[in-house]
């Protein structure tokens, strides 16, 4: 079965063709990096405008690379939440229009379920499907969630929410700390590149203990701890110089960033990254233990973080991640998530609305 996936929930316009939930024939992502970089973050209205401009060429390219015509498709899958509502609406409306004109099923997909299925797809393709029940840790710029995944013949994949961040998402914390330290947007991936050059025990940053659900997480306190350290260490001048030096340079390479970063700051970055990873790892370990999960799926944009990937291998269950191109937002994961639903004959009505706060599980 050939599924066209479309994803426009934030600042990437993406389309992909996936066969039988396993084989990506194409995976096209048009990044809006240059549009938003100078604003220091995603501007929703500009993102929506870009999606409308990009959607037709991106979908055409996905089909072309797959060597397919519209009539070769069996279904159209699209993200309908969570995300920026104006952005979601472009992809959702376009997908509905294609499906209606083709007379093919249209399937709305939760963006978080998509991230999980990026890994499910790769494991299926490798011939070693992730063992269920599994823990899924979805970590991105907008989300930090722990789910238990089970599968039943009647329901298909079934998700239960075990824990989530109560404030900033992990990726958001990375980006905010990077900004605080004078690195250009989006600074999170840059911190991952710089962290290996610092001492992760160099600065003592506090862990968080949650009241209530121990599997919930919080990262705003950690960000504040970094801020206090910056203030106490009199780093304002260093940060201002770095901001000026790196301003307007587009994507920064690690060597360039490293040259603008003294050792003490590299230690702070390494310590921050270490603490974020430990917070995530601790919850993942407890969740796996308490649920008797047989594997763990680590996914979402922050799952591209090399430190995180390496540290999670210490868990006592098999840990599965996806290729880097499938960790960040893409449409192959949306098509992959739609496949089991299509197999069960599910489709979505054409009056499906975009849901910016859509939940995968309660």
């Amino acid at each position: 079965m050939n599924i066209l996936g479309i994803e426009t929930s934030c600042d990437e316009t993406a389309a992909a063709v996936v066969v039988d939930g396993e084989r990506e024939l194409s995976n096209v992502v048009a990044s809006q990096f240059d549009v938003h970089a100078r604003y220091g973050g995603v501007v929703p209205e500009l993102a929506s405008r870009q999606h409308l401009d990009a959607i037709t060429p991106v979908v055409r390219e996905a089909l072309e690379r797959a060597g397919m015509q519209y009539t070769d498709l069996d279904a159209i899958a699209v993200t309908y939440g969570p995300g920026l509502v104006g952005c979601l609406l472009v992809g959702l409306t376009y997908a509905k229009g294609l499906a209606l004109a083709l007379g093919k099923p249209f399937i709305g997909i939760n963006h978080l379920e998509g991230h999980i299925h990026a890994v499910v797809m790769e494991q299926r393709r490798a011939g070693s499907p992730a063992e269920l029940p599994a823990i899924a840790m979805v970590v991105s710029g907008g989300h930090t969630h722990l789910f238990l995944i089970e599968e039943t013949a009647e329901q298909g994949y079934d998700y239960s929410l075990l824990g989530k961040t109560r404030d900033d998402a992990a990726g958001e914390a990375f980006d905010k700390v990077a900004k605080l330290l004078g690195y250009p947007y989006p600074g999170g991936p840059l911190l991952d590149l710089l962290a290996p050059f610092g001492n992760p025990k160099g600065v003592a940053l506090p862990g968080t203990r949650m009241k209530g659900n121990q599997l919930d997480m919080s990262f705003s306190g950690l960000k504040t701890a970094v801020l206090r350290h910056v203030q106490a260490s009199d780093m304002a001048e260093e940060i201002a110089e770095r901001r000026d030096a790196l301003k307007g340079r587009g994507r920064i390479g690690v060597e360039e960033a490293r040259q603008a970063t003294p050792q003490a700051t590299l230690d702070l970055i390494a310590s921050f990254q270490y603490r974020v990873i430990e917070e995530l790892l601790l919850r993942a370990a407890v969740a796996a233990d308490e649920t008797g999960a047989r594997s763990l799926i680590l996914c979402g944009g922050v799952a591209a973080n090399s430190g995180l990937r390496a540290r999670f291998q210490s868990l006592p269950v098999p840990v599965y991640t996806s290729a880097l191109a499938l960790s960040t937002d893409n449409a192959a994961m949306i098509a992959a998530a739609a496949y089991p639903r299509l197999l069960r004959g599910e489709s979505s009505p054409l009056d499906l609305r975009a849901q910016p706060n859509l939940k995968l599980a309660q």
Partner: protein, 218 residues
């Protein structure tokens, strides 16, 4: 030639079907929760009432704006997708131009409620040649730009001239209230499609008029 017009740009939307120069069906769309949820059902039901399907449409004519940014994009995204599959034409029509088409006289002013105490406005001649390009601003600014010209006004927004509307102080003598410009959009689009005045689908652009609320970085 069958042309389906779709207007989701403003508070009250509309849909219309033109068949060889005549309107076969037209209706307004009320969608208090937004057009995204209802637009395809409206298209299907209007076509079904004529014994038609989306595959029968030759020209898709979305309202290009101005209006709500999101509303404009919903209409354009829907039309582009429907046209893309069947390689049919998309001919977008500006909402103000469509209102002027629905108007009369040698001087045709079109106004729309732009919220925030402002109006979208433009002035056209009888052949829809633009005399004042679409803009957004206060009612007073538009009147000042008109100077001594006395156009016939057309709008879908009677509220503009109500006690709370931005143009409350002055209701023009010659005012045409249009339910929906969808029929005008359909007829104009059909005319342009026949004249070959079309652009490739991927080059179809919205007419936002208003700038996005973004503070430019330093």
């Amino acid at each position: 030639m069958l042309t389906l017009a779709l207007d989701t740009a403003n508070r009250r939307g509309g849909i219309a079907l033109a068949h060889d120069g005549a309107i076969a069906a037209s209706r307004t769309i009320e969608a208090p929760d937004g057009f995204a949820g209802v637009v395809f059902a409206e298209i299907e039901s209007l076509l079904a009432a004529q014994g038609l399907r989306v595959q029968d449409v030759d020209v898709w004519a979305p309202a290009a704006g101005p209006g709500s940014f999101t509303g404009v994009r919903i209409g354009l995204a829907a039309a582009k997708a429907l046209a893309e599959v069947s390689s049919t034409l998309v001919v977008p029509i500006g909402n103000l131009e469509a209102l002027a088409f629905a108007g009369r006289g040698d001087l045709r002013a079109a106004v729309l409620d732009a919220r925030r105490g402002q109006v979208f406005s433009a002035l056209y001649d009888a052949h829809l040649g633009p005399l004042l390009e679409p803009t957004v601003g206060s009612w007073e600014d538009f009147r000042a730009a008109l100077g001594k010209r006395m156009p016939v006004f057309a709008t879908i927004d009677a509220e503009l001239f109500g006690s709370a509307g931005p143009a409350h102080a002055e209701r023009p003598d010659q005012l045409i209230l249009v339910d929906t410009p969808a029929a005008s959009i359909a007829l104009l689009a059909e005319r342009r499609a026949r004249a070959g005045e079309t652009v490739p689908l991927e080059q179809v652009q919205p007419i936002y008029v208003r700038r996005p609320d973004v503070r430019e970085p330093e």
